[in-house]
Assembly symmetry: C2
Homo-oligomer: 365 residues x 2
């Protein structure tokens, strides 16, 4: 049973050799070209569809489902190039896994190992660089920077962060949690590549900057919210302030992190403390607007078990406890030539398990 | 002698009632419409001109100077609406005034009042929100947010930051300081409105987020680098790493901050520790690219004297020492209805003093 059947139909942007960019949906290991449907689907990016809003999203999905069921025109994935599916407006990243925040505090700030003071009161986040959001498969050149006082060199502690990203369709401000699905179109997987040595030296007091701005990879398939089953969010203590309630839906997305050929972790998105609806409500609670194409990521997804963490910082305890890959080699952080692939599955709204594609990247020297 | 004479000619985007957006230059208290010159100047934003690069910038300035000298077609500023002159791609903000960084540390972190550890080694910065960069004159609605644990309310400590912003024209990565003028087109004034209570509660460990994302105002006139005289940067100790050398030009821009009708501060940009060339080199040193329309701001400009500071946090010592305005009223932070105007002048490349326009905004409840 394919995880990319008729119940899923994630949207992407593809091209064939010397062809233009077209919107398609993934069906099994093929792409169905949607340009023949015209209108919002005859565009080189998803932005016009994103902007159209929930009623149009529902109607378009109905039409696409009907079209895909009837057509025999399918292009093997191996024959297409996949592109960044939408133009990224502002990119924001949160920090909403309690286990991740605790792990990072314990590892990097052993003198003050608790959660940051505001952590349980609001979804902490920061703005990232939009121009370096790249599609899965784009090689990741190891960043250089000040890795310690007086040392400008290639990062020696290049890491990943396995995250789930939410793609904003309809602009808005002061968006309530209950309005989440009116504004958010769908979901991608995100790898927020991070240079831990650069980060440790630069981050006080304004947060991460060059440690994360060199590349953020996203999966090429945007899974519509309509395709995903929802679940109950985790209990929150203390009860959040009114503007963050109700918490909104959670999603039981099960991530998997492959370091070369070895599956090293399976982070559970259902364990996240703050929901995507709360993140959006918080982001816009001060009056700031979101735009079509805004991307906001969940923050590193980490569960309580050692093999459920979404970063190598946590997996190897900052390099102190190397992991052994299936080829017998040891890893502390990423080596040149290493490949990381984050994939995910989730219960679908249609009752079957669906795939969220994958986000992959290989490290270049 | 006008500070907007033939030696200045800053570019902006204006419209007349029911008219379209056009590029113009400011001459005295008038605008000269440049659309008749066609080409890069027949556009609704400066982006095509920004993208064209230094040789085109020089040639365009020559043609504009000639055209402006010959034309009698001038539109009074009072008859036009000024717009955001370019589409902002990524927005970045630095923290490059030593005096400001010291003041903030002393006021907010009296237990560790020195500079942050990396401060003298690299220009600390962070990414901001592009979608909320607005043109001078746009009213600023007081943001709400978590101003303390358990309290969601309008900010009670609304502040300004007087800064100088640099507008990137030509994309690039790993830009050397000596290449600064090949990539940067010109200069605007920036007010990085800041809610200090929101900031204090949210900023650990990822930096400011909602405290600054609600609005960033910029002046409507982009002064070309060509119009500005350069000066020597301040001495740096320790000597920066190679990728930050030579330090590049400095600019003797003299800012002035008016709180309603009272001039409360005159921050000296020449006192900045890190130069704009070093900021751009640092920003791109990890491999991240800049794009046409990127805006990066200097960070709050503060000199050593009490009346040279670029924020009210510093001016009133976090509200502990109110300032008296000329109408006799006292201020700690911004009240509803208050208006703040940042203006600036600088020695021009042509030998006369030039104006950098102003960035103004009125606080709404």
């Amino acid at each position: 049973m394919s995880r990319y059947g008729i119940d899923n139909l994630p949207y992407g942007v593809f091209s064939r050799p010397r062809g233009d960019r077209r919107i398609g949906v993934r069906l099994g290991s093929t792409v169905v070209d949607l340009a023949p449907l015209g209108g919002l689907l005859a565009a080189p990016t998803l932005n016009p569809l994103l902007e159209a809003g929930r009623p149009q999203w529902t109607e378009t999905r109905r039409r696409v489902t009907e079209y895909v069921s009837g057509t025999t025109g399918r292009i093997p994935l191996s024959e297409v190039t996949l592109h960044l599916p939408f133009e990224v407006a502002d990119y924001t990243d949160f920090y909403s896994s309690e286990q991740h925040a605790r792990n990072v505090s314990q590892i990097l700030r052993p003198d003050s190992p608790g959660l940051p003071p505001a952590w349980r009161h609001l979804p902490i986040g920061y703005h990232g660089r939009s121009s370096t959001v790249v599609v899965s498969g784009t090689p990741i050149r190891r960043p250089s920077g000040q890795i310690a006082e007086g040392v400008y060199a290639p990062s020696e502690r290049l890491d990943i962060e396995a995250e789930v990203g939410f793609v904003v369709g309809v602009p808005g401000r002061r968006i309530r949690t209950a309005e989440f699905a009116e504004h958010v179109f769908g979901v991608v997987l995100v790898n927020d590549w991070s240079a831990r040595d650069i980060q440790a030296w630069e981050y006080r007091p304004l947060g991460p900057f060059l440690a994360k701005s060199f590349a953020t990879s996203v999966s090429p398939w945007v899974v519509p919210l309509d395709a995903l089953a929802t679940t109950e969010p985790v209990a929150q203590d203390p009860v959040p302030l009114d503007y963050l309630l109700p918490a909104g839906p959670a999603f039981d997305i099960r991530l998997a992190v492959d370091w070369n050929d070895t599956r090293v972790a399976t982070p559970p998105f259902a364990a996240m403390y703050w929901t995507a609806a709360q993140q959006l409500a918080h982001l816009t609670s001060n009056g700031a607007g979101v735009r079509t194409g805004d991307l906001y990521a969940s923050g590193t997804v980490s569960g309580p078990a050692r093999d459920e963490v979404g970063s190598f910082l946590e997996l190897t305890r900052n390099g102190a406890e190397p992991v052994k890959l299936t080829d017998g080699s040891l890893r502390r952080f990423l080596l040149d030539g290493d490949r990381v692939t984050i994939s995910a599955t989730a219960p679908g709204a249609g009752g079957t398990e669906i795939g969220l594609g994958e986000v992959t990247g290989t490290v270049l020297a």
